[in-house]
């Protein structure tokens, strides 16, 4: 019987490795930081209780963190019921380090310099010229370095890490950009190259994922952060970023190549990026201005804000354009909701400037497409032009300090 039991024993993978002392220390350090940062505990005794770590371990970690300036002691709390010494209270110091977050697409590379609470002190941006933005020419990472350097010149505290968001598929664990159609990058070891240059940790992610992560980390327009969020980013392409339970779900969702069936007397398929890119929208505005000669939509310097303003004033061309865009977006979003069931859908990119009335329209059209299944997701707009770069900051805080 014993022999039979032994032969029936499950196979065990013996590739499991014991954590090194350094890994354990790093893990415990992150536990302590997260507890203080999240307001769970702010004294040595409370931290030991909250983290399950032994008091000497907690004291040693706090000693290191005090020396690095990431924590400080701020007064004393009330003594415990047993009349012991009043504990020294600990506070997280977001200004102790700074983080650079970069976001790059076909038109520009932009970055933010932030403290550990996501408060931005400076931005730096580089618009790519007509020759530069050709995927064949964005071959090297000099563009990323120019923006990083612009922010390094403005550091007020030691630089902790750099985070970079790129369009396309990214292997977040290795920091390799597997495929970026917009930038013409393929299997580019971006994290390794930047780490070699700057000698600090670098983390890389898909820029739309990072937009979603930024909203989880820093809230959505002042509201509390949703834990399950899908961001649809409409800029030079159409991308979908998913955050589930506060973490990025996969390594990139560029759906620009997907086709949408445009309704009409002769239904035709069109690629999403050809429907939503700015040249297509401008061209459509020209057509609509001819249909509605009294339209206030400007001939030049057109922006989404102009479209929004004119639609608010009842301009027929602007309203018709908004109807078309909302209908197309609703088709995309209804699939996203059907598949992923997120709590929140957020619309990001310059198209967010079309505003709340447009978003309501998108939500209504989406609800009609999903009926009779009830629409449970809420909709929001992600206005910030820094969202991708902020998301890169959030990625760094998550990976390096585990405080998100």
């Amino acid at each position: 019987m014993k022999a039979q039991q032994e032969s029936a024993a499950p196979k065990v993978n013996m590739n499991i490795q014991k954590a090194t002392h350094e890994q354990l220390k790093r893990h415990n350090r992150q536990l302590v930081l997260r507890a203080v940062y999240g307001g769970l505990a702010n004294s040595r005794a409370a931290l030991a209780q909250a983290t399950g770590l032994a008091k000497p371990t907690v004291s040693s970690l706090i000693g290191d963190l005090l020396e690095e300036g990431l924590l400080t002691e701020r007064g004393r709390g009330p003594s415990t019921g047993s009349g012991g010494k009043r504990p020294r209270l600990l506070e997280f110091m977001p200004a102790a380090r700074q983080v650079i977050g970069i976001s790059i697409n076909q038109a520009r590379a932009s970055g933010v310099l932030s403290n550990l609470a996501g408060e931005i002190s400076a931005r730096h941006s580089l618009h790519l010229s007509a020759g530069e933005n050709d995927p064949a020419n964005i071959a090297d990472i000099g563009i990323v370095q120019d923006v990083v350097n612009g922010l390094i010149a403005q550091l007020d505290a030691p630089l902790l890490c750099i985070g970079v968001g790129v369009p396309g598929t990214v292997d977040t664990s290795s920091g390799i950009v597997r495929q970026s159609r917009q930038l013409g990058w393929s299997n580019l070891p971006l994290a390794t190259q930047l780490t070699a240059r700057y000698e600090i940790p670098v983390y890389v992610g898909n820029s739309t994922e990072l937009c979603a992560l930024a909203q989880f980390a820093f809230g959505t327009n002042g509201e509390s952060a949703p834990r399950n969020l899908v961001t649809v980013l409409v800029d030079h392409g159409v991308e979908v970023g998913v955050t589930l339970e506060g973490g990025s779900y996969h390594s990139g969702g560029d759906i620009s190549n997907l086709h949408l069936l445009a309704a009409g007397s002769r239904p035709n398929h069109q690629r999403l990026d050809s429907l939503f890119n700015w040249e297509a929208i401008r061209s459509r505005v020209q057509e609509l201005r001819e249909v509605y000669p009294g339209s206030s939509l400007p001939d030049c310097d057109l922006s989404f804000m102009h479209i929004r303003y004119c639609a608010t004033k009842g301009d027929s061309a602007a309203l018709e354009l908004c109807d078309e865009l909302s209908a197309r977006l609703a088709m995309v979003i209804s699939w996203v909701i059907g598949l992923l069931q997120p709590e929140t859908i957020s619309l990001a990119g310059p198209i967010a400037d079309l505003g709340e009335a447009f978003l309501e329209r998108v939500a209504e059209e989406t609800a009609q497409l999903l009926a009779p299944v009830a629409l449970s997701a809420s909709f929001s707009l992600a206005y910030s032009p820094n969202l991708g770069a902020l998301g890169a900051v959030a990625l760094v805080l998550q990976k390096e300090l585990a405080i998100l």
């Binding site: 580089l126 010149a153 929004r308």
Partner: protein, 269 residues
């Protein structure tokens, strides 16, 4: 001239903005062991040979506002001269630094429109030949569209960053009995002048008219003007940092934008 000498090019070193930038640059230069030479450039300058200094004698050059035409700056840059442009508008990727005019104006308008519930606005313009003047007006117009505000062109008052000119413009405007409940000023000194004119013409601030201005200083605090803090001396400090960073081997292209913060005071309640 030694290799530790920085040149600052300006069209008028005594003007409030330029003076403050130069002070900030000087402070950082002193800390980092650099000397500074300030050169006033005759306007308009049509030939780089007429520059009153030899660029190659300097380690790096800071150009304030639109002191040199874009082509000349590109020529200087092509020689390998480290260059930083301060509040300069070139449309190129030369390293530059400015306050985030769009972000600052967005903060002012959000406060004025959503918090103070004002919708009938006037705008006191800056100098349309200067980057800050152009950007702040463009940002104001953009934000007005965001809130679907109709602002007649007659509500855009010339100011040119000169408080006396702003005061005269506003006085003439108020004499037409316009229907306004808020004023946005492209800088805080013109905003302070606006407060004085409103007081003299019997308008109560903020009850009748709320006033906000761009940029901050002790005078704004004394006058009780709500502003977005855009410290110009700090702009100079950071411009120096950008230039000195390049001297240290950092390759920089593009524009650094410094964030602003809303400072609420009595002029908006």
């Amino acid at each position: 001239m030694t290799s530790n000498d920085l040149a600052i090019l300006t069209n008028n070193r005594q003007e409030v903005f330029q003076y403050a930038v130069i002070a900030g640059v000087q402070e950082v230069a002193d800390q980092r062991g650099f000397s500074v030479t300030v050169a006033e450039i005759p306007q308009p300058l049509d030939d780089i040979a007429r520059l009153p200094l030899k660029p190659q004698a300097f380690a790096g050059i800071l150009a304030i506002s639109n002191v040199l035409p874009a082509e000349m700056l590109e020529t200087l840059s092509r020689t390998g001269m480290p260059l930083t442009l301060v509040s300069h508008c070139t449309g190129s990727s030369l390293p530059s630094i400015t306050h985030d005019n769009q972000q600052g104006m967005a903060l002012l308008m959000e406060h004025l429109v959503t918090v103070c519930e004002r919708s009938k606005l006037a705008f006191i313009c800056g100098d349309s030949k200067q980057n800050d003047g152009l950007q702040r007006e463009a940002a104001f117009r953009q934000e007005a569209m965001r809130y679907a505000l109709d602002i007649p062109e007659s509500h855009f008052l010339p100011g040119d960053f000169e408080p006396n000119k702003a005061a005269n413009s506003l006085k003439a405007f108020l004499a037409t009995s316009p229907d306004i409940d808020g004023i946005v000023s492209a800088d805080y000194l013109m905003g302070i002048a606006a407060l004085e004119i409103l007081s003299r013409t019997g308008h109560t601030v903020p009850a009748d008219v709320a006033v906000v201005g761009f940029g901050d200083g002790p005078e704004a605090d004394e006058a009780g003007l709500t502003t977005v803090a855009a410290d110009v001396v700090e702009l100079g400090r950071r411009a120096a940092r950008q230039l000195i960073g390049q001297l240290g081997g950092l390759s920089i292209r593009g524009q650094t934008l410094l964030s602003t913060q809303l400072v609420r005071r009595q002029s908006t309640g």
